[in-house]
Amino acid sequence: MAEADIWEQFRQGKEAAFTLLYQEYAPVLFQYGCKLSPDRDLVKDCLQMVFLNIWKNRSQLPAPPSVRHYLLKAIRNEIVKKTKDQSRFAAFPEEAALEVTSSFEAEWIDLQTEASRSEKIQDVLRRMPARQREVIFLKYYQNLPYQEIAAIMGIEQDSVYKLTYKAIEKLQQLLLLSLLLGQWLGS
Protein backbone atom coordinates (compact mmCIF):
# COMPACT_ATOMS: atom_id res chain seq x y z
CA MET A 1 0.00 0.00 0.00
CA ALA A 2 1.35 3.39 -0.89
CA GLU A 3 2.02 5.82 1.91
CA ALA A 4 -0.67 8.17 0.69
CA ASP A 5 -3.24 5.36 0.80
CA ILE A 6 -2.27 4.36 4.32
CA TRP A 7 -2.64 7.93 5.46
CA GLU A 8 -6.01 8.22 3.78
CA GLN A 9 -7.24 5.00 5.38
CA PHE A 10 -5.97 6.20 8.71
CA ARG A 11 -7.85 9.47 8.31
CA GLN A 12 -10.96 7.42 7.81
CA GLY A 13 -10.30 5.78 11.13
CA LYS A 14 -9.05 2.40 9.95
CA GLU A 15 -7.27 0.74 12.86
CA ALA A 16 -5.00 -1.31 10.60
CA ALA A 17 -3.71 1.82 8.91
CA PHE A 18 -3.02 3.50 12.23
CA THR A 19 -1.11 0.41 13.36
CA LEU A 20 0.95 0.47 10.19
CA LEU A 21 1.81 4.11 10.66
CA TYR A 22 2.92 3.47 14.18
CA GLN A 23 5.08 0.50 13.25
CA GLU A 24 6.62 2.35 10.38
CA TYR A 25 7.37 5.68 12.01
CA ALA A 26 7.67 5.18 15.75
CA PRO A 27 11.29 4.00 15.55
CA VAL A 28 12.57 6.90 13.48
CA LEU A 29 10.58 9.45 15.44
CA PHE A 30 12.16 8.07 18.57
CA GLN A 31 15.65 8.24 17.09
CA TYR A 32 15.06 11.83 16.08
CA GLY A 33 13.55 12.72 19.41
CA CYS A 34 16.63 11.43 21.21
CA LYS A 35 18.70 13.99 19.33
CA LEU A 36 16.57 16.70 20.81
CA SER A 37 16.42 15.52 24.38
CA PRO A 38 18.47 13.13 26.50
CA ASP A 39 15.43 12.22 28.50
CA ARG A 40 14.32 8.92 27.09
CA ASP A 41 11.04 8.94 28.92
CA LEU A 42 10.24 12.41 27.73
CA VAL A 43 10.88 11.38 24.17
CA LYS A 44 8.62 8.36 24.59
CA ASP A 45 5.95 10.57 26.08
CA CYS A 46 6.12 12.91 23.12
CA LEU A 47 6.08 10.02 20.70
CA GLN A 48 2.94 8.78 22.36
CA MET A 49 1.43 12.25 22.28
CA VAL A 50 2.06 12.63 18.58
CA PHE A 51 0.19 9.46 17.77
CA LEU A 52 -2.60 10.22 20.20
CA ASN A 53 -3.04 13.64 18.68
CA ILE A 54 -3.10 12.52 15.10
CA TRP A 55 -5.60 9.85 15.99
CA LYS A 56 -7.76 12.33 17.84
CA ASN A 57 -7.70 14.80 14.96
CA ARG A 58 -7.53 12.32 12.13
CA SER A 59 -10.56 13.54 10.25
CA GLN A 60 -9.24 17.09 10.17
CA LEU A 61 -5.68 16.39 9.15
CA PRO A 62 -4.30 17.40 5.76
CA ALA A 63 -2.82 14.94 3.33
CA PRO A 64 0.85 15.91 3.60
CA PRO A 65 3.21 15.37 0.65
CA SER A 66 5.48 13.45 3.03
CA VAL A 67 4.13 11.67 6.08
CA ARG A 68 7.60 11.27 7.50
CA HIS A 69 8.27 14.98 7.23
CA TYR A 70 4.95 15.73 8.85
CA LEU A 71 5.57 13.40 11.77
CA LEU A 72 9.16 14.47 12.31
CA LYS A 73 8.00 18.03 12.58
CA ALA A 74 5.21 16.95 14.92
CA ILE A 75 7.50 15.26 17.40
CA ARG A 76 9.89 18.15 17.24
CA ASN A 77 7.13 20.55 18.19
CA GLU A 78 6.02 18.27 20.96
CA ILE A 79 9.49 17.98 22.45
CA VAL A 80 10.17 21.69 22.19
CA LYS A 81 6.89 22.31 23.97
CA LYS A 82 7.68 19.87 26.74
CA THR A 83 11.24 20.99 27.28
CA LYS A 84 10.17 24.61 27.42
CA ASP A 85 7.91 23.69 30.33
CA GLN A 86 10.83 22.18 32.13
CA SER A 87 13.45 24.65 31.11
CA ARG A 88 14.91 24.30 34.56
CA PHE A 89 16.04 20.83 33.66
CA ALA A 90 18.66 21.55 31.08
CA ALA A 91 18.94 19.22 28.16
CA PHE A 92 22.40 18.46 26.81
CA PRO A 93 25.56 20.07 28.01
CA GLU A 94 26.36 22.45 25.19
CA GLU A 95 29.57 23.22 23.35
CA ALA A 96 31.42 24.31 26.46
CA ALA A 97 31.55 20.73 27.63
CA LEU A 98 34.03 19.91 24.94
CA GLU A 99 36.74 22.00 26.62
CA VAL A 100 40.07 20.28 26.49
CA THR A 101 41.64 20.57 29.89
CA SER A 102 43.47 17.31 29.41
CA SER A 103 45.73 17.61 26.44
CA PHE A 104 44.49 16.75 23.00
CA GLU A 105 46.86 13.83 23.16
CA ALA A 106 44.79 12.15 25.81
CA GLU A 107 41.77 12.43 23.55
CA TRP A 108 43.30 11.10 20.38
CA ILE A 109 45.04 8.27 22.14
CA ASP A 110 41.64 6.95 23.12
CA LEU A 111 40.76 6.72 19.46
CA GLN A 112 43.18 3.85 18.96
CA THR A 113 41.18 1.19 20.70
CA GLU A 114 38.44 0.18 18.34
CA ALA A 115 35.84 -0.05 21.04
CA SER A 116 36.60 3.37 22.38
CA ARG A 117 37.05 4.86 18.92
CA SER A 118 33.44 4.66 17.92
CA GLU A 119 32.56 5.53 21.47
CA LYS A 120 34.74 8.61 21.21
CA ILE A 121 33.02 9.68 18.05
CA GLN A 122 29.67 9.05 19.65
CA ASP A 123 30.89 11.12 22.54
CA VAL A 124 31.79 14.02 20.27
CA LEU A 125 28.50 13.76 18.44
CA ARG A 126 26.62 13.67 21.69
CA ARG A 127 28.29 16.79 22.96
CA MET A 128 27.46 18.88 19.97
CA PRO A 129 24.83 21.51 20.42
CA ALA A 130 21.38 20.01 19.99
CA ARG A 131 20.79 21.75 16.69
CA GLN A 132 23.96 20.43 15.14
CA ARG A 133 23.04 16.99 16.31
CA GLU A 134 19.58 17.31 14.82
CA VAL A 135 20.92 18.38 11.49
CA ILE A 136 23.45 15.56 11.37
CA PHE A 137 20.69 13.06 12.03
CA LEU A 138 18.34 14.45 9.41
CA LYS A 139 21.04 14.88 6.79
CA TYR A 140 23.33 11.90 7.13
CA TYR A 141 21.05 9.35 8.64
CA GLN A 142 17.65 10.25 7.26
CA ASN A 143 19.09 11.60 4.01
CA LEU A 144 16.74 14.54 3.83
CA PRO A 145 17.60 17.44 1.52
CA TYR A 146 18.58 20.71 3.16
CA GLN A 147 15.36 22.26 2.02
CA GLU A 148 13.27 19.75 3.90
CA ILE A 149 15.44 19.93 6.98
CA ALA A 150 14.97 23.67 7.01
CA ALA A 151 11.22 23.18 6.91
CA ILE A 152 11.23 20.67 9.74
CA MET A 153 13.47 22.74 11.95
CA GLY A 154 11.77 25.98 11.08
CA ILE A 155 14.97 27.79 10.10
CA GLU A 156 16.58 29.11 6.94
CA GLN A 157 18.25 26.68 4.60
CA ASP A 158 21.41 28.70 4.95
CA SER A 159 21.46 28.15 8.70
CA VAL A 160 21.01 24.44 8.17
CA TYR A 161 24.05 24.36 5.96
CA LYS A 162 26.08 26.37 8.45
CA LEU A 163 25.14 24.04 11.27
CA THR A 164 26.15 21.04 9.24
CA TYR A 165 29.43 22.60 8.28
CA LYS A 166 30.26 23.49 11.87
CA ALA A 167 29.49 20.01 13.09
CA ILE A 168 31.71 18.46 10.44
CA GLU A 169 34.55 20.81 11.26
CA LYS A 170 34.41 19.81 14.88
CA LEU A 171 34.50 16.13 14.09
CA GLN A 172 37.26 16.76 11.62
CA GLN A 173 39.44 18.55 14.14
CA LEU A 174 39.54 15.49 16.26
CA LEU A 175 40.30 13.16 13.42
CA LEU A 176 42.86 15.34 11.71
CA LEU A 177 44.74 15.62 14.96
CA SER A 178 45.14 11.90 15.10
CA LEU A 179 46.27 11.93 11.48
CA LEU A 180 48.98 14.43 12.30
CA LEU A 181 50.17 12.26 15.13
CA GLY A 182 50.53 9.39 12.76
CA GLN A 183 47.54 7.35 13.64
CA TRP A 184 45.16 7.29 10.73
CA LEU A 185 42.04 5.46 11.74
CA GLY A 186 41.11 3.91 8.46
CA SER A 187 37.50 2.95 8.32
Binding site: P27, A106, I136, I168
Partner: protein
Protein backbone atom coordinates in the same frame (compact mmCIF):
# COMPACT_ATOMS: atom_id res chain seq x y z
CA UNK B 1 30.65 21.51 -6.40
CA UNK B 2 31.14 25.14 -7.18
CA UNK B 3 33.94 25.81 -4.76
CA UNK B 4 37.29 25.83 -6.58
CA UNK B 5 39.26 24.71 -3.55
CA UNK B 6 36.84 23.04 -1.20
CA UNK B 7 37.96 21.81 2.17
CA UNK B 8 37.07 18.32 3.26
CA UNK B 9 34.31 19.87 5.35
CA UNK B 10 32.94 21.70 2.31
CA UNK B 11 32.78 18.46 0.43
CA UNK B 12 31.28 16.54 3.31
CA UNK B 13 28.50 19.09 3.62
CA UNK B 14 27.74 19.17 -0.06
CA UNK B 15 24.53 17.40 -0.94
CA UNK B 16 25.62 15.94 -4.22
CA UNK B 17 28.82 14.71 -2.60
CA UNK B 18 26.91 13.04 0.19
CA UNK B 19 24.67 11.40 -2.36
CA UNK B 20 27.66 10.09 -4.20
CA UNK B 21 29.17 8.57 -1.05
CA UNK B 22 25.97 6.99 0.10
CA UNK B 23 24.42 5.78 -3.11
CA UNK B 24 26.72 6.25 -6.02
CA UNK B 25 24.80 5.83 -9.22
CA UNK B 26 26.49 6.02 -12.62
CA UNK B 27 25.68 9.71 -12.93
CA UNK B 28 27.24 10.62 -9.61
CA UNK B 29 30.27 8.47 -10.38
CA UNK B 30 30.78 10.29 -13.66
CA UNK B 31 30.35 13.71 -12.11
CA UNK B 32 32.84 13.19 -9.32
CA UNK B 33 35.28 11.37 -11.52
CA UNK B 34 35.26 14.38 -13.81
CA UNK B 35 35.58 16.71 -10.89
CA UNK B 36 38.72 14.92 -9.72
CA UNK B 37 40.18 15.21 -13.20
CA UNK B 38 39.64 18.94 -13.28
CA UNK B 39 40.81 19.42 -9.70
CA UNK B 40 44.09 17.59 -9.45
CA UNK B 41 45.59 16.97 -6.03
CA UNK B 42 42.19 16.74 -4.32
CA UNK B 43 42.16 12.97 -3.91
CA UNK B 44 43.26 13.10 -0.30
CA UNK B 45 40.63 15.72 0.50
CA UNK B 46 38.00 13.64 -1.19
CA UNK B 47 38.98 10.58 0.77
CA UNK B 48 38.85 12.48 4.05
CA UNK B 49 35.47 13.93 3.20
CA UNK B 50 34.17 10.53 2.27
CA UNK B 51 35.38 9.14 5.54
CA UNK B 52 33.59 11.91 7.42
CA UNK B 53 30.34 11.27 5.63
CA UNK B 54 30.53 7.58 6.38
CA UNK B 55 31.29 8.24 10.02
CA UNK B 56 28.34 10.57 10.33
CA UNK B 57 26.04 8.27 8.42
CA UNK B 58 27.06 5.27 10.48
CA UNK B 59 26.51 6.84 13.87
CA UNK B 60 24.67 4.77 16.39
CA UNK B 61 21.17 5.74 17.27
CA UNK B 62 19.09 5.40 20.33
CA UNK B 63 16.84 2.52 19.45
CA UNK B 64 13.29 2.18 20.56
CA UNK B 65 13.31 -1.25 22.14
CA UNK B 66 10.58 -3.70 21.25
CA UNK B 67 9.23 -3.74 24.74
CA UNK B 68 9.16 0.06 24.83
CA UNK B 69 7.36 0.19 21.54
CA UNK B 70 4.82 -2.30 22.78
CA UNK B 71 4.38 -0.39 25.98
CA UNK B 72 3.64 2.82 24.10
CA UNK B 73 1.25 1.02 21.82
CA UNK B 74 -0.48 -0.46 24.81
CA UNK B 75 -0.83 3.00 26.34
CA UNK B 76 -2.14 4.35 23.07
CA UNK B 77 -4.79 1.67 22.91
CA UNK B 78 -5.84 2.33 26.48
CA UNK B 79 -5.96 6.07 26.02
CA UNK B 80 -7.96 5.82 22.83
CA UNK B 81 -10.39 3.51 24.48
CA UNK B 82 -10.93 5.87 27.36
CA UNK B 83 -11.38 8.83 25.07
CA UNK B 84 -12.99 7.48 21.94
CA UNK B 85 -14.24 10.83 20.78
CA UNK B 86 -11.18 12.85 21.61
CA UNK B 87 -11.25 15.06 24.65
CA UNK B 88 -8.43 15.69 27.03
CA UNK B 89 -5.65 13.17 27.25
CA UNK B 90 -3.68 12.73 30.45
CA UNK B 91 -0.66 15.01 30.70
CA UNK B 92 1.84 12.26 30.75
CA UNK B 93 1.49 8.57 30.49
CA UNK B 94 5.08 7.94 31.51
CA UNK B 95 5.92 10.44 34.10
CA UNK B 96 3.85 12.40 36.55
CA UNK B 97 4.82 16.06 37.09
CA UNK B 98 6.26 14.98 40.43
CA UNK B 99 8.50 12.47 38.71
CA UNK B 100 9.81 15.25 36.53
CA UNK B 101 11.01 17.08 39.61
CA UNK B 102 12.58 14.00 41.11
CA UNK B 103 14.52 12.86 38.07
CA UNK B 104 16.11 16.06 36.80
CA UNK B 105 19.45 15.57 35.09
CA UNK B 106 20.49 12.03 34.30
CA UNK B 107 23.91 11.32 35.76
CA UNK B 108 25.82 8.69 33.87
CA UNK B 109 29.06 8.52 35.80
CA UNK B 110 29.59 6.69 39.05
CA UNK B 111 27.45 3.65 38.59
CA UNK B 112 24.65 4.89 40.77
CA UNK B 113 21.17 3.72 39.83
CA UNK B 114 20.55 6.00 36.89
CA UNK B 115 17.25 7.10 38.24
CA UNK B 116 14.36 5.80 40.14
CA UNK B 117 11.12 7.37 39.09
CA UNK B 118 8.92 8.71 41.80
CA UNK B 119 6.03 6.85 40.29
CA UNK B 120 8.29 3.92 39.64
CA UNK B 121 8.17 2.74 36.07
CA UNK B 122 11.67 1.94 35.03
CA UNK B 123 14.84 1.10 36.93
CA UNK B 124 18.25 1.42 35.45
CA UNK B 125 21.66 0.48 36.84
CA UNK B 126 25.01 1.21 35.33
CA UNK B 127 28.58 0.52 36.31
CA UNK B 128 31.59 2.55 35.34
CA UNK B 129 34.92 1.14 34.30
CA UNK B 130 36.47 -0.96 37.02
CA UNK B 131 33.28 -1.03 39.01
CA UNK B 132 30.97 -3.87 39.96
CA UNK B 133 27.57 -3.78 41.51
CA UNK B 134 25.32 -6.32 43.16
CA UNK B 135 21.65 -5.70 42.62
CA UNK B 136 18.63 -7.34 44.19
CA UNK B 137 15.67 -7.50 41.86
CA UNK B 138 12.03 -7.10 42.90
CA UNK B 139 11.64 -10.91 42.94
CA UNK B 140 14.73 -11.30 45.14
CA UNK B 141 16.84 -12.60 42.28
CA UNK B 142 20.40 -11.34 42.43
CA UNK B 143 22.35 -9.78 39.64
CA UNK B 144 26.03 -9.02 39.75
CA UNK B 145 26.76 -6.39 37.18
CA UNK B 146 30.30 -6.36 35.87
CA UNK B 147 32.24 -3.25 34.91
CA UNK B 148 31.07 -1.01 32.11
CA UNK B 149 27.61 -2.51 31.97
CA UNK B 150 24.04 -1.49 32.17
CA UNK B 151 20.89 -3.22 33.35
CA UNK B 152 17.36 -1.95 33.04
CA UNK B 153 14.02 -3.36 34.08
CA UNK B 154 10.56 -2.22 35.09
CA UNK B 155 10.14 -1.50 38.79
CA UNK B 156 7.49 -4.16 38.91
CA UNK B 157 6.74 -6.96 36.53
CA UNK B 158 3.16 -7.46 35.39
CA UNK B 159 1.40 -10.44 36.92
CA UNK B 160 1.49 -13.63 34.96
CA UNK B 161 3.97 -12.28 32.45
CA UNK B 162 7.65 -13.06 31.98
CA UNK B 163 10.12 -11.15 34.14
CA UNK B 164 12.08 -9.12 31.62
CA UNK B 165 15.39 -7.34 32.01
CA UNK B 166 17.63 -5.66 29.50
CA UNK B 167 21.37 -5.96 29.64
CA UNK B 168 24.24 -4.21 27.92
CA UNK B 169 27.64 -5.57 28.93
CA UNK B 170 28.12 -8.44 31.32
CA UNK B 171 26.25 -9.75 34.32
CA UNK B 172 25.85 -12.82 36.42
CA UNK B 173 22.34 -13.84 37.37
CA UNK B 174 21.08 -15.90 40.23
CA UNK B 175 17.40 -16.20 39.51
CA UNK B 176 14.70 -17.37 41.85
CA UNK B 177 11.77 -19.49 40.92
CA UNK B 178 8.48 -17.73 41.37
CA UNK B 179 5.46 -19.51 42.72
CA UNK B 180 3.69 -18.94 39.43
CA UNK B 181 6.61 -20.12 37.32
CA UNK B 182 7.12 -16.80 35.63
CA UNK B 183 10.01 -17.19 33.19
CA UNK B 184 12.92 -14.79 33.59
CA UNK B 185 14.18 -13.24 30.37
CA UNK B 186 17.39 -11.37 29.70
CA UNK B 187 17.50 -9.35 26.51
CA UNK B 188 20.62 -7.91 24.94
CA UNK B 189 20.72 -5.21 22.26
CA UNK B 190 21.83 -7.75 19.66
CA UNK B 191 18.60 -9.65 19.80
CA UNK B 192 19.84 -12.44 22.06
CA UNK B 193 17.29 -13.48 24.64
CA UNK B 194 18.01 -15.83 27.52
CA UNK B 195 15.05 -17.36 29.25
CA UNK B 196 15.21 -19.27 32.51
CA UNK B 197 12.93 -20.56 35.17
CA UNK B 198 15.35 -20.33 38.06
CA UNK B 199 19.03 -20.86 37.79
CA UNK B 200 22.54 -19.38 37.76
CA UNK B 201 24.18 -18.16 34.62
CA UNK B 202 26.06 -15.30 33.09
CA UNK B 203 25.26 -13.26 30.04
CA UNK B 204 27.85 -11.23 28.27
CA UNK B 205 27.37 -8.89 25.37
CA UNK B 206 30.79 -7.36 24.96
CA UNK B 207 32.59 -6.14 21.90
CA UNK B 208 31.95 -8.50 19.09
CA UNK B 209 30.58 -11.47 20.88
CA UNK B 210 27.53 -12.40 22.87
CA UNK B 211 28.08 -15.20 25.36
CA UNK B 212 25.92 -17.13 27.74
CA UNK B 213 27.50 -19.46 30.28
CA UNK B 214 25.34 -21.71 32.38
CA UNK B 215 26.43 -22.73 35.86
CA UNK B 216 23.35 -24.55 37.06
CA UNK B 217 19.76 -25.15 36.07
CA UNK B 218 18.35 -24.96 32.58
CA UNK B 219 18.32 -22.09 30.18
CA UNK B 220 16.85 -21.48 26.79
CA UNK B 221 18.66 -19.06 24.51
CA UNK B 222 16.79 -17.44 21.67
CA UNK B 223 18.51 -15.43 19.00
CA UNK B 224 16.40 -13.12 16.92
CA UNK B 225 17.11 -13.12 13.20
CA UNK B 226 19.05 -10.14 12.01
CA UNK B 227 16.94 -7.32 10.64
CA UNK B 228 13.88 -9.54 10.67
CA UNK B 229 15.13 -11.89 7.98
CA UNK B 230 15.44 -15.60 8.56
CA UNK B 231 14.38 -17.68 11.51
CA UNK B 232 14.84 -17.32 15.20
CA UNK B 233 17.44 -19.73 16.58
CA UNK B 234 16.83 -21.57 19.82
CA UNK B 235 19.11 -23.53 22.12
CA UNK B 236 18.45 -25.39 25.29
CA UNK B 237 21.54 -25.22 27.45
CA UNK B 238 22.93 -27.58 30.06
CA UNK B 239 25.19 -26.62 32.97
CA UNK B 240 28.82 -26.32 31.97
CA UNK B 241 27.97 -25.10 28.50
CA UNK B 242 28.77 -21.91 26.71
CA UNK B 243 26.84 -20.55 23.77
CA UNK B 244 28.46 -17.72 21.86
CA UNK B 245 27.28 -15.61 18.99
CA UNK B 246 29.57 -13.46 16.89
CA UNK B 247 28.08 -10.04 16.34
CA UNK B 248 29.51 -9.71 12.87
CA UNK B 249 28.75 -13.10 11.38
CA UNK B 250 25.79 -14.03 13.63
CA UNK B 251 27.33 -17.50 13.76
CA UNK B 252 26.56 -19.42 16.92
CA UNK B 253 28.95 -21.84 18.57
CA UNK B 254 28.40 -24.06 21.54
CA UNK B 255 31.03 -25.73 23.70
CA UNK B 256 31.62 -27.28 27.08
CA UNK B 257 33.48 -25.06 29.53
CA UNK B 258 34.41 -24.78 33.12
CA UNK B 259 31.92 -22.14 34.28
CA UNK B 260 34.39 -21.01 36.94
CA UNK B 261 36.57 -19.51 34.24
CA UNK B 262 33.78 -17.22 33.21
CA UNK B 263 32.34 -16.52 36.60
CA UNK B 264 35.59 -15.89 38.44
CA UNK B 265 35.05 -12.15 38.23
CA UNK B 266 32.08 -12.46 40.54
CA UNK B 267 34.51 -13.40 43.30
CA UNK B 268 37.06 -10.78 42.33
CA UNK B 269 39.19 -13.50 40.86
CA UNK B 270 40.83 -13.40 37.51
CA UNK B 271 41.33 -16.69 35.72
CA UNK B 272 43.34 -17.11 32.56
CA UNK B 273 43.47 -20.39 30.70
CA UNK B 274 46.03 -20.21 27.93
CA UNK B 275 44.71 -16.73 27.35
CA UNK B 276 46.66 -14.54 24.95
CA UNK B 277 47.91 -11.14 26.03
CA UNK B 278 45.88 -9.67 23.21
CA UNK B 279 42.79 -11.09 24.83
CA UNK B 280 43.89 -9.77 28.22
CA UNK B 281 44.37 -6.36 26.63
CA UNK B 282 40.83 -6.50 25.38
CA UNK B 283 39.61 -7.30 28.87
CA UNK B 284 41.50 -4.34 30.28
CA UNK B 285 39.84 -2.11 27.72
CA UNK B 286 36.38 -3.47 28.41
CA UNK B 287 36.40 -3.59 32.14
CA UNK B 288 38.73 -0.73 32.96
CA UNK B 289 38.63 1.51 29.93
CA UNK B 290 42.37 1.17 29.44
CA UNK B 291 44.15 1.37 26.19
CA UNK B 292 46.95 -1.15 25.88
CA UNK B 293 49.91 -0.64 23.60
CA UNK B 294 52.44 -3.38 22.94
CA UNK B 295 55.96 -2.07 22.48
CA UNK B 296 56.68 -5.27 20.64
CA UNK B 297 53.90 -6.78 18.56
CA UNK B 298 54.84 -10.34 19.28
CA UNK B 299 54.21 -9.80 22.99
CA UNK B 300 50.50 -9.80 22.20
CA UNK B 301 50.75 -13.46 21.30
CA UNK B 302 52.14 -14.53 24.64
CA UNK B 303 49.82 -16.71 26.63
CA UNK B 304 49.05 -17.02 30.28
CA UNK B 305 47.46 -19.67 32.46
CA UNK B 306 46.97 -18.47 35.99
CA UNK B 307 44.37 -17.47 38.48
CA UNK B 308 44.65 -14.76 41.05
CA UNK B 309 42.65 -12.67 43.41
CA UNK B 310 42.62 -9.01 42.49
CA UNK B 311 40.62 -6.13 43.79
CA UNK B 312 42.00 -3.27 41.73
CA UNK B 313 43.49 -2.47 38.37
CA UNK B 314 46.81 -1.67 40.03
CA UNK B 315 46.96 -5.07 41.61
CA UNK B 316 46.04 -6.78 38.38
CA UNK B 317 48.76 -5.01 36.44
CA UNK B 318 51.36 -5.70 39.11
CA UNK B 319 50.50 -9.36 39.19
CA UNK B 320 50.48 -9.65 35.42
CA UNK B 321 53.84 -7.92 35.16
CA UNK B 322 55.38 -10.16 37.78
CA UNK B 323 53.92 -13.37 36.40
CA UNK B 324 54.87 -12.65 32.81
CA UNK B 325 58.11 -10.90 33.58
CA UNK B 326 57.13 -7.93 31.49
CA UNK B 327 57.20 -4.23 32.05
CA UNK B 328 53.83 -2.50 32.35
CA UNK B 329 54.02 1.22 32.30
CA UNK B 330 50.88 3.10 33.08
CA UNK B 331 50.03 6.63 31.97
CA UNK B 332 46.53 7.37 33.12
CA UNK B 333 44.38 5.20 30.85
CA UNK B 334 47.24 4.06 28.67
CA UNK B 335 49.25 0.95 29.43
CA UNK B 336 52.46 0.19 27.61
CA UNK B 337 53.65 -3.39 27.73
CA UNK B 338 57.27 -4.06 26.92
CA UNK B 339 60.09 -6.43 27.66
CA UNK B 340 62.06 -5.49 30.74
CA UNK B 341 65.57 -4.11 30.12
CA UNK B 342 68.05 -6.94 29.62
CA UNK B 343 70.23 -6.01 32.53
CA UNK B 344 68.27 -5.57 35.66
CA UNK B 345 69.68 -3.98 38.72
CA UNK B 346 68.69 -5.83 41.88
CA UNK B 347 66.37 -3.01 42.86
CA UNK B 348 64.33 -2.52 39.75
CA UNK B 349 60.89 -4.02 39.47
CA UNK B 350 59.17 -5.06 36.27
CA UNK B 351 56.18 -2.96 37.13
CA UNK B 352 56.76 0.74 36.95
CA UNK B 353 54.20 3.49 37.48
Amino acid sequence: MKHPYPSAADLAADESFINWVKNAGPEEERYWHNWLQTHPGQEERLAQARHLVLLLAGQQQEELQDWESQQIWHNLTEARRQNPSGGIFPYSLFRSPIAAVATGLLALAGGVALYQAYTPKQLSYATAYGERKTITLPDQSIVMLNANSRLSLPASWPEGEARQVHLQGEAYFSVRHTARHQPFQVHTPDGVQVEVLGTEFSVSDRGQENQVVLASGKVQVRIAPEAGAGKEQQFLMQPGQLVAMSEKTRLVTRKAVDPQLYLAWTQNKVVFDNTSLAEIARLLAQDYGCQVVFADKELARRRLTASFQVSSLEELLETLAATLNLRMERQDKKIIISKPPFIQSPNSTPYAK
